[in-house]
């Protein structure tokens, strides 16, 4: 559909200066912990690269991920992502609708078979044949089954497609699963998969992954959850500017107490930063303005699997996920009853033994020699 043109051409057409583009590359390089010198090479490579064909499929999702990616009031750097790629299919952004849209997808797939990157947001419901989310009468899983074999790689955008996210949360009424799970179960073909989790993911992280793919032609190194290590290598906690307060044991107890005003650690208020691997504390949000903890709210752990099921967002991490008093109460009752039963049985046993006791006399004592 699109003429193969280089990224440089596109940027020139859009009036993006080389300086601006370099700055973008420098940001990416630093986020990916690459030396600054790489930024120039990256810029070079990207300018000469042809735009990457991308097909973007949305399943059980809230469009938050796409919002995060595309809602750019002013031309932000993340907005540049759309210049790096040729978005050949995206339901929400597509002008066409209905059959025309479906056709566009089929065409894009055919034209770029084996080369396009498949981006997926949203979880995929499996229960009852997957009827809980369909597009043009076809279930998500059917669509995915068809698309994946033609893709060069799959990027799961957001926690839903990475780990199941909100749809997967207990009790998971639709049987929602992640793209990774589908591959593990053999329900779709195995392809290189990158999970860019977050609810939503940080835009620059998404574009960073794409840029990595474009410049180096490979997938970035992944962590145990299939997330690019460069962005998900540290916990929020380890990079949090409030960390020193944690180490000193200074905690805000409410959202408007002295501690909160002094910027103390939000751990007691339920921050899940210690168990959350994401780049918020370094990349930040809204063009680097701030991130949740900086705004005074603890981390929810949105980039982690099952974060919805980790108990209240406002309960501290060490707190039990559910109240224990009912279980404890029952246990006390059972324990006391059982203990009493065993104890009384013991008492009875001893009593019986004592009653059966016959007086021991010296005549009972046999000795080898007679005294």
């Amino acid at each position: 559909m699109h003429e193969p043109e280089t990224l440089g051409d596109v940027l020139a057409k859009r009036g993006v200066s080389r300086r601006g583009f370099l700055k973008y590359c420098a940001t990416l390089a630093s986020l990916m912990a690459l030396p600054p010198s790489v930024a120039a090479q990256m810029a070079d490579k990207l300018t000469r690269a042809t735009r990457q064909s991308v097909i973007y499929l949305s399943f059980q999702e809230c469009t938050g991920c796409l919002e995060s990616l595309s809602r750019t009031h002013s031309p932000t750097l993340e907005g540049l992502l759309f210049d790096l790629i040729s978005l050949d299919y995206q339901e929400t952004l597509l002008a066409a609708a209905g059959h025309a849209a479906e056709e566009a997808r089929a065409n894009a797939m055919r034209a770029n078979s084996g080369k396009f990157v498949l981006m997926v947001d949203g979880a995929i419901p499996l229960k009852d044949g997957g009827v809980y989310s369909t597009i043009a009468g076809r279930t998500n899983i059917e669509i995915l089954k068809e698309a994946v074999p033609h893709a060069a790689a799959v990027i799961a955008v957001g926690t839903c497609s990475s780990f199941g996210g909100l749809p997967h949360a207990n009790p998971n009424p639709t049987g929602a699963v992640s793209v990774g799970t589908l591959m593990e179960k053999g329900l779709i073909e195995r392809k290189p998969l990158i999970n860019v989790s977050g609810c939503p993911p940080i835009p620059v992280v998404i574009s960073g992954v794409v840029a990595h793919f474009l410049t180096l032609g490979t997938l970035p190194e992944l962590d145990g959850y299939g997330r690019p290590k460069v962005f998900f290598g540290d916990t929020i906690h380890d990079r949090c500017y409030r960390r020193p307060f944690y180490d000193q044991g200074k905690f805000a107890k409410t959202f408007d107490d002295e501690g909160a005003r002094n910027g103390w650690c939000l751990y007691e208020l339920g921050c899940k930063g210690p168990t959350t691997y994401n780049a918020c504390a370094t990349a930040k949000w809204n063009g680097g303005v701030s991130f949740p903890i900086e705004s005074g709210h603890g981390c929810l752990g949105c980039s982690e699997p099952d974060f919805w099921d980790a108990g209240s967002f406002y309960a501290p991490l060490p707190a039990p996920r559910a109240p224990l008093s009912a279980a404890a109460g029952a246990a006390i009752a059972v324990g006391v009853a059982a203990g009493a039963a065993v104890g009384l049985a013991g008492l009875y046993k001893r009593k019986k033994a004592q009653q059966a006791h016959t007086k021991l006399t010296v005549d009972d004592l046999e000795t080898e020699k007679k005294p």
């Binding site: 168990t275 982690e304 099952d306 059972v334 324990g335």
Partner: protein
């Protein structure tokens, strides 16, 4: 199973199960012991049994004169790991939050770096105690499987806690989950091993002191 799933399980059902086993087990063992009772003492008392009992309850935390010289490792190792274990358990901020969530009580925490050092020292003491148990003739002779199980159950929470704090071995979330699970294992094993002395030591010391106290002997 992912680290978060493991952690969620540990913080949820795992904790419930461990707590139930712990409470039921401890209640059974304590009550089955308690109900056995003690027959009254008809001998005319010279001193107060209760005073002796209370006294020994506390003084027995100090070694008998001469004991320190005869078995320094048992005492020093024992002190260090008991005290270290309880400091890390009771005064590390996240632990206090856990205890607050469970009991409703809370108290000031010690700085994390201090807990870190104490934890490491306790780990070292436990290792020394284990080596001693394996090499010293008396300790080795007395030891049964349960003693090693109890040792491991005490050691693992300290070790996993240390690993988690320093982001060692695996990702923090998984290590934290293992840490919580090791604590749960400890809870479960308390009523199943000699760790039961956590509760019964008070009864034992009390009776020892009371029996002697009645005779006017300080033990």
């Amino acid at each position: 199973m992912t680290g978060v799933e493991l952690l969620n399980w540990a913080r949820g059902p795992g904790l419930q199960i461990a707590l139930v086993v712990f409470i039921v087990g401890v209640a059974i063992r304590f009550i089955e012991m308690w109900l056995l009772g003690k027959s009254p003492d008809f001998a005319e008392a010279r001193g107060s049994a209760a005073a002796g009992g209370w006294r020994t309850l506390f003084t027995r935390s100090l070694p008998m004169p001469g004991a320190l010289k005869r078995a320094p490792l048992v005492f020093l190792g024992g002190y260090v790991f008991h005290i270290g274990f309880f400091i890390t358990f009771l005064f590390y901020a996240p632990h206090i939050l856990f205890l607050r969530a469970v009991t409703g009580f809370s108290w000031p925490a010690l700085p994390a770096y201090l807990i870190d050092v104490i934890g490491l020292v306790s780990i070292a003491a436990l290792v020394a105690v284990l080596v001693h148990r394996l090499t010293d003739p008396v300790r080795r002779f007395l030891s049964r499987t349960g003693d090693y199980v109890a040792w491991a159950a005490t050691f693992l929470p300290l070790l996993t806690g240390y690993f988690a704090y320093h982001r060692l071995v695996t990702d923090y979330t998984t290590m934290l989950a293992l840490h919580v699970l090791s604590f749960e294992l400890l809870l479960v094993l308390i009523p199943l091993t000699k760790l039961m002395h956590t509760f019964t030591f008070a009864v034992s010391r009390w009776y020892n002191g009371a029996i002697a106290g009645r005779k006017g002997v300080k033990v």
